[in-house]
């Protein structure tokens, strides 16, 4: 069973990397970009029967720093 965890900065938290990407896109001539936020995608290969609560605990304990980040879990069909 696979799950994907998307870790993103909370709204309002300054994202210097997103800003740099934004500037680079503008430098390449892509003018229509309003804003860029960079995050992480973590793919987990899990034993069958791993519960949602288990995955959520992994996120809270390690994968995301909930002071500054939000996370979203997406289970993938086998």
């Amino acid at each position: 069973m696979k799950a994907r965890v998307f870790v993103t900065l909370k709204p309002g938290v300054l994202d210097p990397q997103g800003k740099a990407i934004h500037h680079a896109l503008e430098g390449l001539g892509f003018g229509g970009v309003q804003d860029v936020r960079a995050g992480k995608l973590i793919e987990l290969d899990l034993a069958d029967g791993t519960s949602d609560a288990d995955i959520e605990a992994m996120c809270k304990k390690l994968l995301a720093n909930t002071v500054i980040e939000n996370f979203r879990i997406e289970r993938q069909a086998a």
Partner: protein, 221 residues
């Protein structure tokens, strides 16, 4: 004083910190590997060094904060044992929840490596008693992720409770309210991005960091 310096894979200021502690206290600290689950009996000062523990993977300090020795550090901190985290050590302390907030990528995206001006905001703590409140000192920084951030409520609380130990005198890394170092609510845990161990001897070009260790030695012994 019986000190311990933690060592993680990727720590690179552990020996500098050990030399600083030995120079000031006259006793070499125990070097404690991250896989240990206990600190040496009678440890009365814990130092968490700078470096790039676990290659800064996931987030700076994130892996180190979950290593076995940190459970023992949290217990000791809860009993009032002084804990100093420098640079990566500060990141480890925030990731471990022993200090509030988080250290993010420098606002300018550059690694900053130079001496910076610091204002001593609190001279009442066990770490800063050898400084004068409001005094300006100079200590080197060397970091990529030193941009201290917390929500406004937390920042107000830190300010209101006198828990900002050091503030940058100018812009360094985008830190909220120019925060360079903070204390926990009990005052026995200090995290700071600047490296006091690199400003210890005249040969370093600057001895402003020395008084942090001297003040601590006096407070502990």
């Amino acid at each position: 004083m019986k000190s311990a310096v933690l060592v993680f894979p990727g720590s690179n200021c552990d020996r500098d910190l050990a030399v600083a502690i030995e120079t000031v206290t006259g006793r070499a600290p125990a070097m404690v590997w991250h896989r240990e689950s206990e600190l040496p009996q009678g440890t009365d000062f814990i130092a968490i060094p700078g470096g790039f523990s676990y290659g800064d993977y996931l987030r700076s300090g994130a892996m180190a904060a979950r290593s076995p020795i940190m459970q023992a550090v949290a217990e000791a901190a809860g009993k009032g044992v002084p804990v100093l985290g420098v640079c990566n050590g500060f990141q480890v302390l925030t990731e471990a929840g022993l200090l509030p907030g988080a250290l993010m990528r420098n606002a300018g995206l550059h690694f900053v490596c130079r001496s910076v001006g610091l204002k001593v905001e609190n001279s009442q703590s066990i770490f800063t008693s050898a400084y004068q409140a409001g005094e300006e000192i100079s200590i080197p920084v060397a970091h990529h992720d030193g941009n201290y951030q917390a929500d406004a409520e937390t920042l107000d609380r830190l300010d209101g409770e006198g828990r900002v130990a050091f503030r940058y005198t100018g812009e360094v890394n985008g830190s909220a309210r120019n925060i360079a170092g903070i204390l926990n609510s009990a005052g026995n845990v200090l995290g700071m991005m600047p490296h006091p161990e690199r400003a210890l001897e005249p040969a370093h070009g600057n001895t402003d960091g020395r008084r942090l260790f001297e003040g601590l030695l006096e407070a502990v012994s």
